[in-house]
Symmetry: C2
DNA sequence: ACTCCTTGATTGAACGATCAATCTAACATT
DNA sequence: AATGTTAGATTGATCGTTCAATCAAGGAGT
C-alpha cells in the first residue's frame, strides 16, 4: 500500500480510542477494532502484545492529544483565564449535547472501568487527569490576585476536574444536561464568591498602603 | 431445601451487586455470579430473563438499600444537617480507604459503563442518583436560614453528588485519597462561603426589622 | 389416608457465538 | 537477502443462554 509505515498503528490507536469511548473497554472487541480500522489481527498484534497493551497505547496517545484537540481551542476562544474554565466546561457540554448525553469523558470512563485491574493503565489515566488539571492550574495562576491569596490553586484545579466528571456522569444518567448545568452553576457561584473575597482582600491591602 | 422461596433470588442479587461493584458489569461473567452465589444457571434464568434484566434487578434492589445501608448511619452519627453532608462524604472516603482506593461508588461505575446501551438501566441509575440527592436536599432544607435564601438547594444537592463522584473517580485514578480530600476541602470552602453570606443576610434582615 | 395433578424451583449438560490471541505465509522496502 | 509489516485462517477458551429432566410441596378428589 502507499501508506507510510506508522499509518497502521496510528489508525489502530484512533479507532481503539473512539470505540473505547463509545462502548467502553470490555464491551469493545478486538475484532471490532480490526474491522473498523481496516486492519488484520496480525498487524495489531505486531504493534501491541495484547488488548491490555493496546489500552496503554491509547492512553499514552491521549496524553498528547489533550492540548491540541481540547485546550488550544479553549484558549483561542476565551482570553480571560477564569472564564477559560467555564469555556472548557462548556466545550464538554457541547460534546455531550452533540451525542445526546452519551459517551462523556473518554478518560473518566476508563478510570472507573479498568483502573482497579490494570496498574499501568491506572497510572496513565492518573497522568491524563494530572495533565488536564495542570493546564487548568495554569489558568488559575494567571488569574493572579483576582483569586484570594489564601486560595490553594492546585486543590481548586482538581476541583474543576471533579465538577466536570461528576457533572458528566449525572447528565448521562439523567439523559439530559440539567445536572450538568446545575453543577456548573454552583461552581460558578463558588468562583464568584472567591472573586469577591479577593476583591475585599485587595481593597484591604490598598487601605493598608494608604 | 429448607430455604424459603425467595432466598435464591436474594442471594443472586446480592452477589451480582457485589461483583458488578468489584469488577464492573461486562467484566463479570454470569458463570462467576452463579459460582459465587452457589446457584445453577437454570435458577438464575428462572428469575431473570438474562444478564441485562439481572442488572435491572440489581439496580432496583439498590434503590431500597441506600437509606438503611448508607444514609441512616450518617444521620445517626451526625445531627447537624450541613455536617451530615461531610459525614456522608467521609463515609465514602472510609470505604475507599478500606479497599485501597478501589471500587468506588457502585452506581457511578454502572452509570459510565452501561447507561448508554441499556435505557431501562439508565433510568434506574438516574433514580438511584435522584434518590441520593433528594436525601441530601432534605438536609439542605433542614439547614434553614444557615444557607442564603437565594440558594437553590436542589441545584446544590446535585452538586454534592457531583463532588462525590468526581472525587472518587480521581482518587481511584491516583491510587490515593488526596484528590478526594482536595475536592472536599474546596467544597467545604464553598459551603462556608454560603454560610457567611447567609449570616450577612440574616443580620441585614435584623437591621431592617430594627 | 391415599393417589393424582399442578406448580414453582432447581439441576447441569449442552449449544452456538464470540472472545483474545496465535500461527504461517506472503508482501514491501531496502 | 534481510527486515519490518501485513494477510487471514485458525486456535482453544469463555461467553450468555437454552432446555429437557428432576425435585419438593401442596391442594383436589376419592
Amino acid at each position: 500500500m502507499g501508506l507510510e509505515p506508522q499509518d497502521t498503528k496510528a489508525r489502530i490507536l484512533e479507532v481503539a480510542f473512539r470505540l473505547f469511548h463509545e462502548q467502553g473497554y470490555h464491551a469493545t472487541s478486538v475484532a471490532t477494532i480490526l474491522r473498523e480500522a481496516g486492519v488484520n489481527s496480525g498487524s495489531l498484534y505486531h504493534y501491541f502484545s495484547g488488548k491490555e497493551q493496546l489500552l496503554v497505547g491509547v492512553l499514552e496517545w491521549a496524553l498528547g492529544e489533550l492540548r491540541p484537540q481540547v485546550m488550544d481551542a479553549v484558549e483561542a476562544r476565551t482570553a480571560d483565564p477564569l472564564e477559560r474554565i467555564f469555556s472548557l466546561l462548556e466545550q464538554y457540554r457541547d460534546g455531550m449535547k452533540l451525542f445526546g448525553c452519551r459517551m462523556g469523558c473518554p478518560i473518566g470512563n476508563l478510570a472507573l472501568e479498568v483502573a482497579d485491574d490494570h496498574p499501568e493503565a491506572r497510572q496513565l489515566i492518573h497522568r491524563n487527569f494530572a495533565n488536564w488539571a495542570a493546564i487548568v492550574k495554569g489558568w488559575l495562576d494567571a488569574a493572579g490576585d483576582r483569586l484570594p491569596p489564601t486560595c490553594n490553586r492546585e486543590q481548586l484545579s482538581r476541583m474543576v476536574l471533579t465538577v466536570m466528571e461528576g457533572a458528566i456522569m449525572q447528565a448521562r444518567a439523567a439523559g439530559n444536561l440539567q445536572p450538568f448545568d446545575d453543577s456548573v452553576a454552583q461552581f460558578r457561584a463558588y468562583i464568584d464568591a472567591l472573586k469577591r473575597e479577593a476583591a475585599r482582600s485587595r481593597s484591604a491591602v490598598a487601605a493598608m498602603g494608604a
